[in-house]
Symmetry: C2
Subunit: 346 residues, 2 copies
């Protein structure tokens, strides 16, 4: 690997500049992405066509000085491979044709074979690895069991997640059965991604933050801890765990054992560093909306985060959530230049 | 006042049982509310008809052993009184016919006269005070400037609040002008509510939690601090400040000077108590979804929160957010019985 900044940071080793990548860096804010997207029928077709998924994965690397690629895909590949019909409805996001709410619904779900139903993901990874030719590491990923379950139980994105939280308190054993099945599927899926060459894996727990401290532990973190243990026993590929809205539970999150921990923008980097210490590499923290600001503001915010992190190893620069689709790509360049300018050797 | 538990708790004085009320206790989960609601054209008509607003305000007091009433109204009364056309669209929530995005848009907004455009709220308060006849205290309220601004800039509810966060970073001075105008309007509105007899006021900062620590301070907390100072200089009526998703910033929130601080369910009560100490009364913390559970589960969660709060004064039992519309009212009774059973004299 020619660029080892990301892997060094995850191994708590010295780097010549803080590594940076951007959540959803392959996406709608790039005109070259929108061009490819306009030529396919729907979003999932793009995910399922390995040469196109590969092309959009490497687009941001051609434009920006990034330290990692992340596979262009979606967290809902697993529920779809389990047999739920998925559609992306304009203005509404993902919608499943049916929901999972009873024990019978859970029993009817299979654990997808990552090399069969999800074989298109493995094909795309192999294309990307070939294309990248060891220039930068490739990040593979999965949604967390809890986050996948929210879409499967609600049937779509949600603000309050009333249905799954109702299930959590009224039929906890059914939800645990679903989460157990998802944890197994996610483990197989990430192992298969590792088998075909991803250099890092990331668990996106986008909706863990809607839980209480106790139910987060029992219904989300417990299953992610299982997955992390399995992956660590299987390979040396490092794992990053990101629970959006998990700032109050960072101490417990670090305890799950991942090499990297993602944080959103609601927690000061200084406080995250104080809690996590040298136990894991910290990734994230920039408010994605900062990229709507001026170059001066972007530089100030980049500098603030770097200073709050301070000296020491184990820092990956990133946004606290996916980049917004109407951001000017030039502001991503400005952010990366600021990181190169202000991050000292550490 | 015959029932002084709420006021005593807010004054950090001893009570014979932890006082309890429920956010949105007058609302859709009650069949008697749904009956009244079905007889009027729309939601705002209910808010604007003082005898009906009074009737639904006192409905939960007739059914449950509650320690306070809260005026049936909406946080969007102020933007509507400023001249924005408000409609409640089924399945989507509040929608404004126009948005506030430019300096010109802000300049065209007036500060509403609470006794003129908002006179219907003052009429409703007088009706309720007469009806309650000093049995329990009446809570008045307002949305926070930041929270009101989110609806005015976005034009509707939002998940990501991209428009207002874009304004925050790209045109901060316009947003400050809007927030300044809202802070003045909220101050006048709450003072007028106090003039006609409310016993407590509450500031709902429902969307402060989407900000960063720095922008929360500058664009939400700063304005709430101004409002709290004005109210405290004006009267002895205690104020409760609630920022949903503000658990990481409780130390700063207490610094705003309100007598009560609301918390949601993402922070352990024990941790909130440790941060807040005796500086303010703590309200909230029960996950509203617990009311979907069994009576045994409800009792366990009530007991857990009471135990985590521990001994000492200054505790108001409440949910961490509004009650969900499909909750069984009997589970509210179960929650209140558990509070009476497990809260010791303190």
């Amino acid at each position: 690997m020619r660029n080892t900044r990301l892997l060094n940071a995850l191994n708590m080793q010295e780097v010549d500049s803080t590594p940076v990548w951007v959540m959803r860096q392959a996406g709608r804010y790039l005109p070259e992405y929108r061009k490819i997207r306009s030529e396919v029928k729907d979003f999932m077709t793009l995910c399922k066509t390995p040469d196109l998924a590969c092309e959009v994965t490497v687009q941001p690397l051609k434009r920006f000085d990034l330290d990692a690629a992340i596979l262009f895909s979606d967290i809902l590949t697993i529920p779809e491979a389990m047999g739920l019909d998925l559609a992306f409805v304009s203005g509404e996001g993902p919608v499943f044709a049916s929901t999972v709410r009873s024990q019978r619904d859970v029993e009817q779900l299979g654990c997808p074979d990552p090399n069969d139903e999800l074989g298109y993901v493995m094909d795309a990874i192999q294309h990307v690895k070939h294309e990248l030719n060891n220039s930068v590491p490739l990040i593979g990923f999965s949604g967390s069991p809890w986050t996948l379950a929210t879409y499967m139980v609600e049937g779509r994105g949600s603000k309050q997640f009333a249905e799954i939280r109702k299930m959590l308190y009224s039929s906890p054993e059914i939800l645990h059965n679903l989460l157990e099945k998802l944890a197994q599927s996610v483990t197989h899926y990430l192992k298969a991604q590792i088998d075909v060459g991803v250099d890092v894996v990331m668990l996106f727990d986008s909706w863990g933050g809607v839980l209480t401290p106790q139910t987060y532990q029992a219904f989300s973190l417990q299953y992610m801890t299982q997955i992390i243990s399995s992956i660590k026993a299987y390979s040396d590929v490092p794992i990053i765990l990101f629970t959006k809205g998990g700032g109050l539970w960072l101490n417990e999150i670090v305890g799950a054992g991942s090499q990297g921990v993602g944080i959103d923008w609601t927690i000061p980097m200084k406080q995250a560093k104080k809690i996590i210490g040298d136990r894991a590499c910290i990734q994230g923290n920039l408010d994605p909306a900062v990229l709507y600001g001026s170059v001066t503001q972007i530089e100030m915010e980049v500098q603030r985060i770097l200073q709050e992190f301070g000296s020491g190893n184990g820092h990956i620069f990133n946004l606290g959530h996916g980049i917004y689709p109407d951001v000017d790509p030039d502001n991503v360049s400005a952010m990366i230049s600021a990181i190169r300018k202000f991050s000292c050797k550490k």
